[in-house]
Symmetry: C3
Subunit: 396 residues, 3 copies
């Protein structure tokens, strides 16, 4: 029996009826079984591809991507996922469009969704804005479908908002599951999500928030650490606490990177901007105050520079379990001595983890494809079984 | 019997042999039955898609798009249409190309058409230039095919030129046909194509020209109104007059928006630039006189501002048939109090017509797909019938 | 028997087992039979397309393109080739990506190759850099495949580097073969690869290098001519000499365009930058010395201007065999009196050769598709035979 068939049989046992036609905003909107389904389908799609099986669901159709911030990894992951299922990607490049001041999100949403099966949106720059944009967009296409404007209802894959980065964190999690030989081995494992110094500015909070919101669901001991003033959104911390309480794991905050790294099995040191500053930035942005934004940037860079000791050095790594915790990063990293004089991680540490880091990234296209498949296919079990015995991807 | 089969049976009665391998420049190049065929195939393709039937004609092939002006709606419509039929879109971004001063249109045309099945071009900025560019381009690829350079002859879909905007106006017309329950109900209906004030500059004349050139063919009473100096091309008015004479409808010009709106069944208030000024602009452009172009822009904006009373206000709408004419716009509109302080239409009017406006736009991908299909498929009746009983678009 | 079957039977006789899974950097890495295979498959794919046969190998999959320099012809050729075989193109636009200073080529290579079947790279701007980038990139994806990051190993098509421009020169060569009625008619034919004056700066050396490195393999008398100081890379000249010695042809350098053109059967007059100056430019680039680069540009333009007599005039053409040598250019050309006051070629000469010039270019998509097919298909003979009796490309 192939791995895909085994995975399809596992999928059959899960309660996943609500996933059909649903959007993927945040991992905490989804049940444990629904997340399990995403991981299962991602693994199956990878197995099928490795065995040169066609995984096309669509004979034609479009995946619309909207990147309101630059992207390489996620852009190529979304393109790969769409292609894997038979969708062509049409990117909305706001610079080449007629989207002027005043065109509503509702109008844009309908105008680009004529034949869209799926919509992928990255909008992570302003606290309180990214999710709102995605929600407004998807409400508009739902209305558009209801009103007979669109002849199908596209579904959303959140490619990063101000709150969560689910395609990243789900890929991170699938990587962890495989590295530790199965989700059943994660109970009691300690994962340290920590701030790290970076010479750049305004990195989104969605990764640390996504990590504590997701990884508290697998029985792990999740520890968050950051310098004073670099808090994440309190709503997400609340979710992390509830998750931990429900799964027998734990969630706590500690004051130093050293304490977080102590005996950790997994470390995820990464820079982000302070939540309060990001709220201030959003206010300045809404007021159109570019001078204020620039001044804030200078202030934040100076503030960052007071915490250069928050770095994933060789010394710091020695504190982890056997000195060899699994090191994670969403990439690209600010690497001390390679991409900057002082950054998030020592070059020697980063270099030692290069292969697992790239593997971590390599799950993202499959996670996205699984999210699309679960929202577009009514009977994914039968679909996987048909693919398993179906046509080749490369014919000759 | 499915709607598609009914439509295919209607198509069978039409004289449409000349459409195969033909280009689509202007609606007035086409016979009434040819336009009927486009509407019929557009409706059939939509029906097939709603029923999850594959409408692929091409197993591979390219649609080349050239947008010499920004676009969202038309770009996504063209991409959707190509995808619907199985073509991938390759966009010629002149900024990323080596198209230097001096490379002839003939050379570019051949170089991007190696495997092009269809070419979509938007070139609407300069009077006397847009159509010329399209014609030169298509003559070049015809020669290229004849000379054995290209192994197939691509056909054109005019995505807007300086004279006509056929994909827009055909979508507008199909919307009208559906709103009024069939083309047979349009006889004697009054449609008002009127200028409206906009704070922006240099909007193309191709929409009002396309509207009077097309909508005079269905027995309607077509009225054009604009302030003094905002005339459209006289050649197109001549076509409108001839159309009206031939179909039992009428075409006339009136001096005020009020008169045009009086008892109108359909209104299409929209800003455009004066033809004479656009001719002047083309001369300045050809002379490379940017200062002259800038000065002209200031002059035209001042001229526009004298006609702020040309706006689709609630008061103006009250004059129409039962105060509830069908309001049309090609989008995006300049909306008073939403996208600008004073514009083409009151926010309350625009908002009330949002759903029909988006529906109007939603026909464009199907109109484009129908234009492509009629020019590439020798026996479209059999093709529709085969699609009707053929494979699913989404397999699972 | 179809032309494709004949070509497949010829292919069957060639020793081409090493091509499967191989990269295409330079023509001189390949055996004569391997180049023969590329020409054969290119001709077969064109024959199949002309007969409306599907040439899809891939049901899904991506071709990744990276253009580090502008491109129209090669961009559309690569897109056409990928489409012909069933691959979608995903372009890495470095401006829209997060590729920052410090992100290694190794990381980028893995991040964009998640589902890449083929990678096309143009990097021709700096001597000693272009090939190095391609090699580093492909070594990274090979490691990525070996380490389980990528689930397939993509192969390279060099879309132009600092050393060779194989897709151009192979297309040029296939054009020559067809113009002369077969490779067997080329023995003793004289081809003149000469420098020509252009008012622009810094054109790559990869075309003249590619031409002398490839065309010395077919028994032709290859002559290179350029003004003093415009030498090409000595390593490539050495290859040209060895090729000539092995195939009974010849390679020599002469000092004037007149001598090169004398009795030539084929002429390829084209501007390029001096190798030594390009080396200097690379040093300035590596040192970040933009002022130095600008000064060098001025110096080189002045140097170019001393050689305006190196131009493919009507007088120069009269020296060739019967005054009617086959004129080649990779396009776009600097045409005297059309695109510039004084350039590489007289307008009347260029215009007379327009059809063969466009034909020359039209082989490039098929050459690229053949390179992809030979590297991805284990049994190309069977594949061609199956295509010959297989499905239509356009169904209706």
């Amino acid at each position: 029996m192939s791995k895909t068939i085994e995975l399809a049989q596992h999928l059959e046992k899960l309660h996943i009826n609500n996933m059909y036609k649903s959007d993927f905003y945040w991992t905490w909107d989804k049940t444990d079984e629904e997340l399990d389904a995403i991981f299962t389908v991602a693994d199956a799609l990878r197995d099928l591809r490795e065995r040169n099986k066609s995984t096309r669901i669509f004979d034609s159709g479009l995946g619309i991507s909207i990147f309101r911030d630059n992207s390489t990894r996620t852009r190529f992951s979304f393109a790969s996922a769409c292609n894997l299922l038979g969708l062509a990607v049409q990117d909305l490049d706001e610079k080449k469009s007629q989207i002027a001041h005043g065109e509503t999100v509702r109008e844009t949403a309908n105008m680009v969704s004529f034949m869209a099966d799926v919509i992928g949106i990255r909008d992570d720059m302003f606290i309180g804005e990214g999710h709102k944009y995605q929600k407004t967009f998807m409400d508009a296409v739902k209305e558009g479908y209801r009103d007979g404007i669109l002849e199908q209802q596209p579904t959303l894959v959140n490619l990063q908002c101000d709150v969560d980065h689910p395609t990243q964190c789900m890929a991170d999690m699938l990587h962890i599951i495989h590295q530790f030989g199965g989700v059943e081995n994660l109970k009691g494992k300690k994962i340290a999500m920590t701030w790290a110094y970076s010479p750049s500015y305004g990195k989104p909070l969605s990764v640390p928030q996504g990590v504590i919101g997701l990884m508290t669901r697998f029985g792990m001991d999740v520890v968050l650490a950051h310098p004073e003033g670099y808090d994440v959104m309190p709503e997400v911390e609340e979710i992390a606490r509830k998750n931990a309480a429900a799964t027998g794991g734990s969630y706590k905050k500690v004051a130093t990177m050293e304490e977080a790294f102590q005996d950790a099995d997994i470390v995820y040191p990464k820079s982000w901007a302070p939540f309060a500053a990001m709220e201030e930035r959003t206010r300045l942005y809404q007021a159109g105050d570019q001078a204020g934004i620039d001044a804030l940037e200078q202030k934040l860079l100076a503030q960052n520079a007071q915490h250069k000791d928050w770095t994933c050095s060789e010394e710091m790594m020695k504190r982890t379990r056997n000195g060899s915790a699994l090191y994670l990063h969403c990439l690209p990293a600010d690497i001390t001595g390679l991409s900057c004089p002082e950054g998030e991680v020592d070059n020697s540490v980063f270099d030692r983890y290069l292969v697992p880091l790239y593997k971590q990234a390599s799950y993202k296209p499959y996670i996205i494809a699984a999210m699309i498949m679960m929202s577009k296919v009514k009977d994914p079990v039968s679909a996987l079984m048909a693919m398993d015995s179906g046509d080749k991807r490369k014919s000759f």
